[in-house]
């Protein structure tokens, strides 16, 4: 088996992974960097982000205000020391990629423009029309091409971390074009593999967002934190789940039910006028907006669409074509193409859609995991700045800020970590090879990747969706245990070596099954409602017991163990979340 020796192995080349790679290269050009990605970097799902990236920009804004919005938006489950650290670096990182060429939209005076976003008291969301993530990703990728020390391994699928002797010593990966498994013996490893929205059937997440990095860390003994918190975005296109960015509402779009009524005023977000008004109505936080949809649906006030089931209307007609074409051209085209609706002349049918995983790999000290030599950043990591509900536009910035820090931290600590242990690395590599060989050889059993995936989707949606109960979650936990067991019998139908997507999808399903289980169990144990985690049987937030992060630890073929850990509070004591008002 080929062994590739490197100083830093970075798994994932989206916003976070590329930021990390550039940071290492800038800091020390002599360090060897291996940048692995299961897709070409520019295919990473960061490209799909539309609305923008948050960072204080205006004179009347302040770091404290960004902090306050983030912490209350997260329903006080954020670690406040991390949020303070984050908001301070946010504008600097956004300015950095401006200098690298990001085509930010501009004000008349040539300064970078900012737009309002949900849950943010002041405009602080930098945007590049409605393709912000796309431009950030391409700017980072293209910038990275000037650093010879960044050696890319495109279309390499990572299967396992090499954890031995209390330290991460590398990562295993399949070169997809040859089917060969390779060993990356690395002094440090940074995971930047993105979120896991694909655990659910209806999501804005691309096919690649299967949570592989979270699952790798989890199997290596690193806990997954706050996995019960899954964000639903309130405005996805029915059918495809394509996102209508929050920028639509930031620019003044409204949500109405079947009576043409702005129903959000009934859920603590009103009064409706004057509009637009920040942190109110349609510019409330995503968790509350998605929950309001659910209630409207219960009351029979959503719109019944023959082809798509229940929807509400996102109405932007009053914005006019000129503004829509300047600031929202991409989503106009998406709605027109995929739904046949032109937002200039008609309201757009939308419904909540799974969007973001607040939970992720347990971070200590911002970018370090409890496993020495292992770092993480981006959506796969739980720092935690997002708490129980991420504010829109914080996560692109999170990728830049923490991606960079992970790179710097790894580069800084390499010296003290020393060489990897070749014998141990070889041993682990052999175990991975064996597991893969077993999967290849497994006899046909009637269990299929698509079958198990479908059942996982069904049970996650029905039992662990926007609203949850003890019963629904118990069912999902049982189903997931079952599916985990059945996954062990999935056989590959395609036994070939070159670009075998049957194999890759099987491995991705393994990641998803493991992650889905941590979500269901963490949600079961959290008998309160907070942010995106809503229990019909425990409707109140319970700070006494649950002002805590959950930690799910891997137990092999048994369900995960769930433990808790205190939230870090520095200057903001938990209070009621207040939106609306302020007329």
């Amino acid at each position: 088996m080929e062994v590739i020796e490197t100083d830093v192995a970075i798994v994932g080349a989206g916003g976070a992974g590329l930021s990390a790679a550039i940071a290492v290269a800038e800091r020390d050009p002599n360090l060897k960097i291996a940048l692995l990605s299961k897709v070409y970097p520019m295919r990473s799902h960061t490209c799909a982000a539309e609305g923008g990236a948050a960072g204080v920009a205006k004179d009347e804004d302040s770091l404290d205000k960004h902090f306050d919005d983030t912490v209350s938006g997260g329903d006080w489950l954020c670690d406040q020391d991390a949020v303070e650290w984050f908001v301070e670096r946010a504008p600097k990182e956004l300015a950095r990629i401006e200098r690298w060429g990001c085509p930010w939209s501009r004000d008349a005076d040539g300064k970078v423009a900012v737009r309002p976003f949900g849950g943010m008291k002041i405009e602080r969301t930098w945007y590049a029309a409605d393709k912000t993530g796309f431009h950030i990703l391409h700017t980072l990728f293209q910038t990275s091409l000037q650093f010879p020390s960044i050696k890319r391994y495109d279309e390499y699928y990572s299967t396992d971390l090499i954890a031995a002797d209390g330290r991460c010593q590398g990562v295993m990966a399949i070169e997809m074009r040859s089917g060969q498994l390779k060993t990356f013996a690395a002094k440090t490893v940074i995971i930047a593999t993105g979120g896991a929205g694909r655990v659910f059937p209806f999501t804005t997440n691309g096919a690649i967002k299967t949570g592989d990095g979270m699952a790798m860390a989890y199997r290596a003994g690193v806990p997954l934190k706050d996995m019960e918190f899954v964000q639903y975005h309130p405005t996805g296109l029915p059918g495809t789940g394509i996102l209508m960015t929050e920028g639509c509402r930031g620019e003044g779009g409204i949500l109405v039910n079947k009576d043409g009524y702005r129903y959000l005023q009934d859920y603590g977000l009103g009064p409706p006028d004057p509009w637009p008004r920040k942190k109110a109505m349609e510019l409330g936080p995503r968790d509350m907006l998605s929950q309001a949809f659910w209630h409207e649906q219960q009351k029979g006030r959503t719109i019944q669409s023959a082809s798509y089931g229940d929807v509400v209307h996102l109405d932007m007609r009053h914005l006019g074509q000129a503004l829509i074409d300047e600031r929202l051209p991409f989503v106009r085209d998406l709605a027109r193409s995929y739904l046949g609706v032109d937002m200039v002349t008609d309201p757009v049918p939308v419904r909540p859609v799974v969007h973001y995983t607040m939970g992720g790999i347990h971070m200590e000290n911002l970018v370090e995991t409890p496993l020495k030599g292992l770092y993480a950043a981006g959506e796969c990591a739980c720092v935690s700045i997002n708490g129980s509900n991420r504010l829109g536009s914080n996560s692109l910035t999170e990728c830049l800020v923490f991606g960079r820090e992970a790179g710097q931290r790894a580069a800084e600590q390499i010296g003290s970590l020393g060489a990897v242990n070749d014998t141990l690395v070889k041993e682990r590599a052999e175990a991975s090879r064996q597991a893969l060989a077993d999967l290849h050889m497994r006899p046909h059993s009637g269990e299929s990747v698509s079958g198990i995936r479908r059942e996982m989707h069904d049970t996650m949606e029905s039992g662990a969706g926007i609203y949850r109960t003890a019963d629904s979650l118990a069912q999902t936990c049982t189903d997931m245990a079952n599916l985990r067991d059945r996954f062990n019998r999935v056989a590959l139908e395609d036994k070939s070596a070159v670009y075998n997507t049957d194999l890759i999808q099987a491995l991705e399903l393994q990641s998803m099954v493991e992650i889905a289980e941590t979500m269901a169990h963490s949600a079961t144990k959290r008998t309160e409602s907070r942010g995106s985690h809503q229990r019909l049987d425990f409707a109140q937030r319970d700070d006494e017991v649950f002002l805590k992060h959950s930690l799910a630890t891997y137990n092999g073929q048994a369900a995960p163990t769930i433990d808790y850990r205190d939230v870090v509070i520095t200057k903001s004591q938990p209070a009621a979340r207040v939106y609306g008002g302020d007329v």
Binding site: Y40, C47, G206, T501, D502
Partner: protein, 259 residues
Amino acid sequence: MGERQITLEVMRYRPETDTEPVFQTYAVPCQEEWVVLDALNYVKDNLDRSLSFRWSCHMAVCGSCAMVVNGTPMLSCKAFLRDLPDTIQVEPLRNFPIERDLVVVLDDFMEKLRSVKPYIVPKEAPATPDGTFRQSTKQLKMFKPFAMCINCLACYSVCPQYGLNEGFAGPAALALAHRYNADSRDVGRKAREDVVASNVGIWECTFVGACSEVCPKDVDPAAAIQQTKIASTVDYFTDLILPGRKVKGGPGKAAGGKA
């Protein structure tokens, strides 16, 4: 939601067993609103686990899923069945080696992308308090259309020069070079000229314009190449008259960072 039966003829090539590409036919029950990618995924999930193709975002922005559909390269996630006949032929992008089935080898393009130095070569650090360059909306518009390229490579599939002359950098890479040349924050045009204005660059383009026709993002690489040709010609002559003249940022020119 109505159901429609289509016949999908997919080009298959499995390098371990096939000596050459062959078409395989699948009967696929489809929903009216589906795109070709949905039909392929139906095949993958229900009929044939061995079919390989690339895709991810399903919203026309990651650039993974371009393929030749009934003769024309397009994003399969935006190739609506409602616009296509009942028999649909799907092939990998042309002008690239086939790795497997609908997956082509991208090494050459990735190297060409790097060769045009697609990053800002800055003039000087901006002296603004927030550390950003000022850029007018007009300056932004000069390069923004060329920054919309998703690297889907549909344009390479129809480019006659790329087909004939493998040294040719090709439409997307040249459009990207132009994107940076046209950015008010950049002074890298001279550095890019090695590749762009050399024999593997713009002079190879015969201006057929097929690239711009198939581009799903209206990047118009042909226009980028044409504009670069003009700029390079001007440089060539002015260089003769005034050796060492700065390409950009000279007096009277809009220069980023100063405003």
